[in-house]
């Protein structure tokens, strides 16, 4: 399978995701943001980091870059798009995903391993996970506090578009297990066609037992199959 990782000035998880993709046997290429055509790919990844320093709103400026037009075209024609962390923020800025990511409720950057629950495993991104499976995944962000309007929230629920929710070790989804204040503990969502996934946790950090655990592996192997 062919994948492309879009690199913006200030992206800093681009190398990490590339490494994970290669480990999972994707044929990966890095695509610089100034490029105007996108190599043909089955998967486009917008990686984490601080594109343009996140100085205006996280993801805002990257959302206006040349390459993003191509990403939008590809997404509309059904290509899989995965946005992780800053990538998720960028996807909401482009409108490919609805809602937005506000400052964490404690106004601090948060880096730790948290638990998330698989809410929908009937998608091309999550099929290798069990429904309600609890994963331990690293988060690292300032703005991960997902917010959307009530119409869209209902749509997310009714159409089963929530991918992951923050929970505790036992799977309880509540305020205590919500690290950043996200609405309904939402950690990741799909678009209505379910070919776009945006998520705050970093699956690429969880593919190597020497470094962490391997809870992220099945995300990539789901995509492969």
């Amino acid at each position: 399978m062919k994948s492309s990782v879009i690199v913006f000035p200030g992206s800093n998880c681009d190398r990490d995701i590339a490494k994970a993709l290669e480990k999972m046997q994707f044929k990966n290429q890095m695509v610089w943001h100034k490029e105007t055509d996108l190599p043909k790919s089955d998967l486009i990844v917008i990686p984490g980091g601080f594109s343009y320093g996140d100085y205006l709103r996280s993801g805002a400026i990257a959302g206006k870059s040349l390459i993003i037009e191509e990403v939008i075209k590809a997404a509309n024609s059904g290509c899989l798009v995965l946005g992780i962390c800053n990538g998720f923020q960028i996807l909401t800025e482009t409108g490919l995903l609805k809602g937005t990511l506000l400052r964490n409720k404690n106004l601090k950057f948060i880096n730790k391993d948290i638990n998330i629950k698989v809410i929908n495993n009937q998608t091309r991104f999550t099929s290798k996970y069990k429904l309600n499976q609890i994963l331990k995944i690293n988060i690292a962000h300032n703005e991960g506090n997902y917010f959307t309007n009530s119409t869209h929230l209902n749509e997310l629920k009714n159409e089963n578009l929530i991918a992951f929710k923050y929970c505790d070790e036992k799977g309880n989804i509540n305020n205590q297990s919500n690290p950043n204040g996200a609405m309904d503990n939402i950690a990741g969502i799909f678009n209505s066609k379910k070919n776009i996934l945006g998520m705050m946790p970093h699956p690429e950090r969880m593919v190597d037992k020497f470094i962490s655990n391997t809870d992220g592996v099945n995300l990539f192997s789901s995509i492969l199959h």
């Binding site: 800093n12 996140d54 880096n111």
Partner: protein, 726 residues
């Protein structure tokens, strides 16, 4: 403009120094030249008070590729890999504006590392604050922590270890020391020495603004009531631009276009151009009209002394200009040829086709003043503290008291604000004896730790100096690494004060002895004097940053207990030294007496033995014993798991508090699988290592036979509340 006494004083220069400037120039300097002298001759850049002492440090070893004298030290870690690292202080700026001060401190030290061709792979920090009750402490702590995180997180380099301490001595003068560690290919190290005449001198990075003018002089003076006036010199960090600069520099370094490269740190364009040219015994000529400026109408004086961040100076090979320019354009960075190297041995500054300043380089560098400042030996009290009259306290209560104190509380409130995982090579994060960072795409790793002990150094500078080196060494050993080399940041008070200078000389003597004995050379460092306000100086606070090598990632260790029923072995002799201990400090508010002695022979033997046992996979977990003594070390191994320990009270125990809280040096706790005990004991005996078997791990309870038994959760809770309630 006439150079008056007030102007000279404002530039931090002494009368005699001004006289030498006139002699060296054979005329009066103009204001621009005076500014340049003041920048180069201040303590921060010239090391005039410390140089004679620093010379004594051991800096050689077969692992050393580059010792002190470059932007950072470089060591060999086998194959074609090298590690580049250095620590630096940003104390004064962080006190004035904690967020930006700390952030730019991180930015500055990162540039020192990537200028040498290394990709930064880890950040560490040592931060010291005043008493938690001091009205400023809380906001300083918040600002510094978010500044460190703000910069490191944005640029995408994991912050993996550090230390945070509170002590009244820092009430008016906090310490913020940042260390950066990078990885380079051995044959691709870049240096700052210029070579060749008429080569292009290129300015890259951010534009120059009026920020930070005279920052280096600020770092070389005491604070007083008027320090507030110095506020306009605050610099704002721009980690996004630094990320671009990092990537652009590394891209250009793939090829061999660069003759020499130097970041613009303290004293900006002045020190970078002077250093490159003087190291190469060349001259340098700059056309200041070409310097990219952020503000209108900037003067040569402002351009030369600005400390705007995220800038570099590069000397390029002939004909490489366009190639290099393209790379910087790709990263949206300024790239301007602002001058040439010359054979005049002078710094020549042109502006609007006029020579505005010309100074022989040796006057700025080799002929800068060096002082052999007076220093006096510390008077050491020989009297033992009388501890017999102390009110009795239960071991359990003393333990909880220490674990819940600000200095010992779990630091995750801080470390959760740092991205520790980005780059995906962090095999062990902060909270352990040493962080472990894998060498990308390889199975080997380095271990990293920073350490200091201001109370020890204050009461007995020589022992304190030795102790911090040894503690650092023990931390590196405990995770299974072979200690290779250190960097050091020497935070002291006013060097013009004999006692302070004595603390400096003696701490350095201690560092030297320990480094020599352990073959643990110093490859880089930084000196920060004048830490104090109105004649109140901080305690001597040298900080050691050490790097160790792990050949095989399979053989690393954490300090957490792994399973029940394993045997707990205490390595090293316990004498029960309580003077200067946490036990006395936290329970009785006594900070007195001498620190525990350092026996370098034991230190070395014990450490090498522990490392050998770890390498043979005979150890399940290991932890060095430092502040707080044995019981604290054991609790740290237990907390966060449901595994505790049952300590069998041996008859030998004279005094429980001495045994459990004494801070005798050179000791480790090892968790050994029962089945390996015989082979471990064999090794220990063959090496004549003193050891005691003190008990076994067990589920759920932390217990000393017939003395205390508490739920391991109680320890955890005690240890995890302070920051969250502060």
């Amino acid at each position: 403009m006439e150079i008056t006494n007030t102007i000279i004083e404002k530039h931090g220069l002494k009368k005699e120094e001004y006289e030498s400037i006139k002699k060296l120039l054979k005329r009066n300097p103009n204001l621009l030249e005076l500014g340049i002298f003041s920048a180069m001759w201040n303590e921060h850049c010239s090391y005039k008070s410390s140089r004679l002492h620093l010379k004594k440090l051991p800096t050689k070893g077969k692992q050393v590729i580059q010792g002190p004298g470059e932007n950072a030290g470089v060591i060999d870690i086998g194959d074609d890999d090298a590690i580049v690292f250095k620590i630096e202080s940003h104390n004064h700026p962080s006190y004035i504006e904690p967020y930006q001060g700390a952030a730019t401190g991180v930015g500055g030290i990162l540039r020192d590392v990537f200028t040498m061709g290394a990709r930064p792979i880890a950040l560490l920090n040592s931060i010291h604050f005043g008493s938690p009750n001091h009205p400023k402490t809380k906001s300083l702590l918040n600002g510094v922590v978010s500044g460190i995180g703000g910069y490191g997180n944005c640029i995408g380099i994991p912050t993996v270890a550090g230390e945070t301490k509170f002590n009244e001595t820092y009430n008016e003068n906090i310490l913020v020391n940042a260390m950066a560690v990078g990885h380079a290919k051995k044959n691709k190290i870049f240096y700052s020495k210029a070579k060749g005449v008429n080569k292009s001198v290129v300015y890259v990075g951010s534009k120059t603004g009026r920020d930070g003018i005279h920052g280096a002089s600020m770092a070389s003076a005491e604070f007083d009531e008027n320090s507030e006036d110095k506020k306009p010199t605050v610099q704002v960090g721009d980690p996004f631009t630094e990320k671009l600069l990092l990537e652009a520099c590394l891209e250009l370094m793939k090829d061999d276009s660069i003759i020499a490269i130097q970041d613009m740190g303290a004293a900006g364009l002045t020190s970078s151009s002077v250093e490159m040219a003087s190291k190469g015994s060349l001259g340098i000529e700059l056309e200041l009209d070409k310097v990219p400026c952020r503000e209108e109408n900037m003067t040569p004086y402002e351009m030369m002394l600005s400390e705007s961040q995220e800038r570099m100076l590069i000397i390029l090979e002939d004909g490489k200009e366009d190639y290099a320019r393209q790379i910087f354009a790709k990263w949206d960075l300024d790239f301007v040829i602002i001058g040439r190297t010359t054979n005049t041995n002078k710094l020549t500054l042109k502006f609007k086709n006029k020579i505005e300043g010309e100074i022989p380089l040796e006057a700025l560098a080799s002929k800068a003043p060096i002082y052999n400042r007076k220093w006096s030996k510390k008077k050491i009290s020989r009297k033992k503290l009388d501890l017999k009259k102390l009110k009795k306290i239960k071991i359990e209560d003393a333990l909880i008291k220490i674990l819940s104190s600000p200095n010992h509380s779990n630091k995750s409130w801080i470390t959760n604000q740092y991205d520790q995982m980005v780059m995906c090579d962090t095999a062990q994060k902060s909270g352990s004896d040493a962080a472990i960072i894998r060498i990308h795409d390889k199975n080997k790793a380095i271990a990293l730790s920073v350490d200091s002990s201001a109370n020890y150094c204050k009461s007995h500078p020589i022992t304190g100096g030795k102790q911090i080196v040894c503690e650092n060494w023990r931390n590196l050993i405990s995770v299974g690494s072979k200690p290779l080399a250190i960097t050091n940041c020497l935070n002291f008070g006013n060097p013009e004060n004999e006692e302070i200078m004595g603390e400096f000389a003696e701490c350095l003597e201690g560092i030297k002895e320990a480094c020599e004995f352990l073959k643990f050379p110093v490859v880089s460092g930084n000196v920060s004097f004048y830490n104090g306000t109105n004649k109140k100086n901080i305690y001597p606070t040298p900080v050691i940053g050490g790097v160790g090598l792990i050949q095989n990632l399979n053989k690393t260790l954490s300090h957490k207990f792994k399973k029940e029923k394993s045997i707990i072995v205490l390595i090293g002799k316990t004498f029960g030294h309580l003077e200067q201990s946490c036990f006395l400090k936290e329970n009785y508010s006594i900070i007195d007496g001498n620190p525990p002695e350092i026996n370098l022979i034991n230190e070395k033997n014990n450490g090498e033995m522990v490392l050998k046992l770890i390498e043979r996979k005979l150890v399940l977990s290991a932890h060095d014993i430092s502040n707080g003594g044995l019981l604290i070390a054991l609790s740290e191994m237990s907390m966060g798991s449901n595994l505790g320990i049952k300590i069998e009270k041996s008859k030998k125990l004279r005094d429980l508090k001495e045994y459990f809280f004494g801070e005798d040096q050179g000791r480790y706790v090892l968790e050994i699988d029962e089945k390996n005990l015989t082979s471990v004991e064999k090794f220990l005996k063959s090496g004549s290592i003193y050891y005691e078997i003190i008990g076994k791990t067990q589920e759920n309870f932390f217990e000393i036979e017939n003395e205390m038994k508490i739920d391991t959760n109680v320890l955890y809770k005690a240890n995890n509340q302070w920051y969250n309630n502060y």
